[in-house]
Amino acid sequence: MLDALFFRRWLTATAAVVDREAERLTELDSPIGDADHGSNLQRGFRAVAAVLEKEVPDTPGAVLTLAGRQLISTVGGASGPLYGTLLRRTGKDLGDAPEVGPTRFAEALRSGVDAVAALGGAAPGDKTMLDALIPGVDALDGPSGSFGAAREAALHGALATTPLQARKGRASYLGERSIGHQDPGAASSALLFEALAETAESTETPESTETAESTDGSRG
């Protein structure tokens, strides 16, 4: 089962991985956006990590809702509302449950991803963050779903945006010239799943690894 502590550790891990990858995200954003995706997300997730040190919400839903609100208040651009909505909607879907199973989390995350799609008006293949989020949540929600599989699927989805032509956001103004560049939003979305897998792996003690894996593998 995943508790509030698990979600705090996930978001802290996300802040660390965004810090680590900020320069790469900004580089990806340079040819097809305006070269600030890394620094914008870094500012937002640093603020999330900071608020989660001060306030300690005691349910998974409250952790995610607080983090989402913080992103909306600090990131700006399109990333702020989109990432903020992803976490807020996921958190709201989880409600007041003190702990949630991985399957329940996957369901909630899917409603978060659906909210992102509705807000941005994008569909799979438009070369946006959805191209990593949807494969990620599909893998998590699948019959053999695990955090590791979600990480792989999201990363694969992000890499697969390279040959696509952007149809949403600022990159859409490039038309055909957006082809050949990985979408920075999909790249950062894959980082969320990377941090999730890291968190799940570091939660497993050597003795409990087998249990955790069988828990992951038995879902669906």
């Binding site: 620094s39 700006g76 651009g77 509302p81």
Partner: protein, 330 residues
């Protein structure tokens, strides 16, 4: 790339501190990034709030004051402001007559202003929104984010600001803003790329012998890249591109706008060429504004904006305005 800054992280805050020192008639909240005319809320008058990424100065902060905006919200460089700034500003300037949000058509600006409008309405503030999308370089289709908001923003803010100053109610101020947007078209040309403080180097690669036709105000590429052209040739291209989309039967307001890195010597010369083409095409120019108003950091280049007017809009244009960057009649 040499820049007159300390560190990239404090560029916006440093600029706001400097703006506060230069303009005591504005209340500048550096921490929350809200610039409000000091006499707001003005009793019985609709308030105008706009904002967007920093790096386009004087848009929007330089347009705060009597006759134009009530408040402006600068975001990070080229990044839209956040809803908290917008709600804070709306609450500070609302006299009870309502607030008009003027939003440029970029995904980030639209999403944040939409969220802010909901939050402000929750607080009992009546909010209307108008979207500025004047850039003819972009095809407005299902497959793009739609036309960008660029130089036309100045006309929307000035004319709607005058309408609010005249005491019109919210729905009529909103209608003026929409009418201005519908009658306004722009196109931009870049001679060099801009450099953001965070990146410290040009955001796109434009070789010395080439120019980008139809560039956006964040350096987004436009229609095509060509070998460098003369001012005369650029004016022909720009005016024709705008007139393809807007066939004015009335006189127009003309904005010949610098992108930040082109001196006035060149802009005035370019204006002479723009005026020549307009005469050749039979378009009468009622008023002309030349200068750096909707910029893109240090980008060299210019944009041309035409706004077709009627008698009411011309009266609103001539109405007094007193802001850091636009000032006449008072």
């Amino acid at each position: 790339m040499k820049m007159l800054i300390n560190v990239a992280e404090t560029v916006v805050a440093d600029a706001l501190r400097g703006m506060a020192a230069a303009h005591p008639e504005l209340a500048v909240d550096v921490e929350n990034r809200v610039i409000v005319r000091r006499d707001a809320p003005v009793e019985g008058k609709v308030a105008l709030v706009s904002g967007g990424g920093s790096g386009h100065e004087p848009l929007h902060s330089g347009f705060v004051g009597p006759g134009m905006l009530s408040a402006a919200l600068p975001g990070e460089v080229f990044t839209s402001p956040v809803p908290d700034q917008m709600v804070r500003a709306a609450a500070a300037v609302d006299s009870g007559a309502g607030v008009l949000f003027i939003v440029k058509n970029y995904t980030g600006d639209v999403l944040n202003f939409d969220m802010a409008a909901e939050l402000a309405e929750d607080e009992g503030i009546q909010v209307a929104k108008v979207l500025v999308d004047d850039d003819v370089a972009v095809t407005d289709s299902l497959y793009t984010a739609g036309r960008r908001g660029t130089g036309g923003t100045l006309f929307v803010e000035k004319l709607a600001g005058a309408a609010a100053d005249a005491g019109l109610p919210l729905e009529r101020v909103e209608a003026v803003a929409r009418r201005v947007n519908e009658n306004t078209r722009s196109i931009g040309v870049a001679l060099s790329a801009c450099s953001t403080p965070a990146k410290g180097s040009p955001t796109f690669d434009l070789p010395p012998g080439e120019l980008e036709l139809g560039v956006g105000i964040h350096g987004e590429p436009g229609r095509e890249r060509r070998a460098m052209m003369t001012s005369r040739e650029i004016a022909d291209f720009a005016v024709d591109a705008v007139l393809e989309d807007l066939a004015p039967h009335n006189p127009v307001l003309l904005l010949v706008n610098g992108m930040g890195g082109t001196p006035l010597l060149e802009l005035y010369g370019f204006n002479a060429e723009v005026q020549r083409v307009l005469v050749e095409r039979g378009v009468a120019v009622a008023r002309t504004l030349v200068g750096n108003y909707v910029t893109s950091l240090d980008m060299a280049g210019a944009s041309v904006t035409l706004c077709q007017i009627d008698e009411e809009l011309l009266r609103l244009w001539d109405a007094p305005v007193r802001t850091p960057a636009l000032r006449w009649g008072c």
